[in-house]
């Protein structure tokens, strides 16, 4: 929460991982991103999809993981989190 109106929110850093087709689309496998405190998973996805048009073709936010656990879009991100948006899994 901002202490004073008009004062920039403190920044935090998360480590964003890309796998499989998302890695191909992004052209990288890992990226440190600075985000305002209070950013939620769905907001990070919106930012990523804006930057990477091939990911924006996705109809909705793909499954997301924070620190290797599935989370929903409302989840608040914290400094140091490891975040991944997962293309459709295809094990077996």
């Amino acid at each position: 929460m901002p202490l004073f109106a008009g004062v920039d929110l403190p920044e935090m850093r998360v480590n964003l991982l890309y796998f499989a087709s998302f890695r191909d689309a992004a052209g990288l496998s890992e990226q440190v991103r600075e985000l305002p405190e209070g950013t939620r998973v769905a907001q990070l996805w919106e930012a990523v999809a804006r930057e990477i048009p091939r990911l924006a073709a996705f109809p909705a936010m793909p499954p997301a993981a924070v620190n290797r656990e599935y989370v929903d879009g409302e989840t608040l991100l914290r400094d140091g989190d490891e975040v991944a948006f997962l293309p459709p899994v295809a094990g077996g």
């Binding site: 991982l17 796998f19 499989a20 087709s21 191909d24 993981a65 290797r68 656990e69 599935y70 991944a84 997962l86 293309p87 459709p88 899994v89 295809a90 094990g91 077996g92």
Partner: protein, 136 residues
Amino acid sequence: MHLTFNPIDVAALLNEVRGSDGGVCLFLGVVRNENEGLPTVAIQYEAYGPMAESEMARVARQIEEDWPESRVRIQHRAGRLEVGEVSVAVVAAAPHRREAFEACRAAIDRVKATVPIWKKEFHPDGSSAWVDPTRG
């Protein structure tokens, strides 16, 4: 370890669950030579390693909770596999065959639904494509 770059030792996996159980069910996923009409020569499996480990452990734990007398082991390959190689193995032991079959079936279904593993198919002409089970 649930995720391995080496060939799966099915006999060792079976031994891990053997006890006084009445039934042991084994499922093997094997790399096919075609998918949706396209010939396949190999598959590259990629995993979000640490999360794939924890998700497979979670699946095994949940199956053993849902079928309380079962014991389940799961292993999945990573890396490049040729046609005919075993990509995933599930073994489930239980006092009776019904529970063994059910636990084994549920385990492989949950693995395929939740474990962060992806596969890229290689075709004879050298082209390749990520498999998307949600399309088709």
